[in-house]
């Protein structure tokens, strides 16, 4: 799909927001500069992915894992990123544990629609980041259809790869 590494670009709005966070208030950023930063970031992703992949292959694995990413950062001499990333990792793992707990305490998906529906509302609004509410949400098809489809849309819009299986992303996650 992409012909050259620099043709892939990240969403403009997001990049602009991050830049604005980094520099003091009221500073203008030229369009060229913004575009250049965006391209630089895209190349960064590709480059980091390539290096992370090397580490994965070295470990005789086919899936890039978090440790590979951290090793890549060190390799690229971006050690200053490693600490914040580790904090992020912790937070992410904590979130996963919390989610698992919620899943365990939930009744089976085919149970009373009303009950499941209410719980889904709670879960989806709290955790916009993950798409995992989807499984039980889609089970509540019957009477709550309109609401559910809106909720599903929210899930999609939330952006992350809403996969019902836990860790591997086989396709679709661009």
């Amino acid at each position: 799909m992409a012909e050259r590494p620099e043709d892939l670009n990240l969403p403009n709005a997001v990049v602009t927001r991050i830049i604005k966070d980094a520099i003091p208030e009221g500073v203008n950023v030229s369009k060229e500069a913004r575009l250049a930063i965006s391209k630089a970031a895209s190349v960064f992703v590709l480059y980091a992915t390539s290096i992370s992949n090397n580490f994965a292959v070295k470990g005789k694995r086919k899936t890039i894992n978090a440790q590979d990413v951290l090793s890549a950062m060190e390799n690229m001499e971006f050690e200053q990123f490693i600490e914040p990333l580790q904090q992020c990792q912790e937070a992410f793992r904590q979130e996963k544990i919390d989610k698992k707990k919620e899943r365990v305490s939930k009744p089976a998906p085919s149970a009373t629609i009303n009950e499941a529906g209410d719980e889904d509302v709670q879960e989806v609004s709290d955790e916009e980041e993950s798409g995992e509410g989807r499984q039980s949400t889609s089970a509540a098809d019957g009477s709550k259809e309109d609401f559910v489809s809106t909720v599903n849309e929210n899930n999609d819009a939330a952006g992350s790869s809403g996969d019902s299986s836990v860790e591997m992303i086989e396709d679709g996650a661009d």
Partner: protein
């Protein structure tokens, strides 16, 4: 990330971390370029190009954020390169 041909698959955690790392990268690049730049009211392309060219860790960006060159200077460079190749 998956557009890289040699990558077979990526764990969700790795994906999340890479995204976060990119965010950190953008912030660091923007902040650093701004600090290095002369004009404190704006962030210019030139500041970025300066930083990319001076930092070793940013070498991979050399071709992506090059210094801007006037067309006539560029043509001159090409002509010089051709001339040296012929020799």
């Amino acid at each position: 990330m998956k557009s890289s041909p040699e990558v077979s698959s990526i764990s969700q955690e790795a994906l999340h971390l890479t995204g976060k790392a990119t965010e950190l990268f953008i912030q660091a690049l923007a902040r650093f370029s701004y600090q290095q730049g002369e004009d404190k009211s704006a962030l210019n392309y030139r500041d970025l190009a300066e930083v990319v060219n001076s930092e070793e860790t940013l070498q991979f960006l050399h071709d992506i954020v090059p210094h801007k060159v006037k067309a006539k200077d560029y043509l001159k460079m090409l002509r010089d390169a051709d001339a040296s190749e012929e020799q």
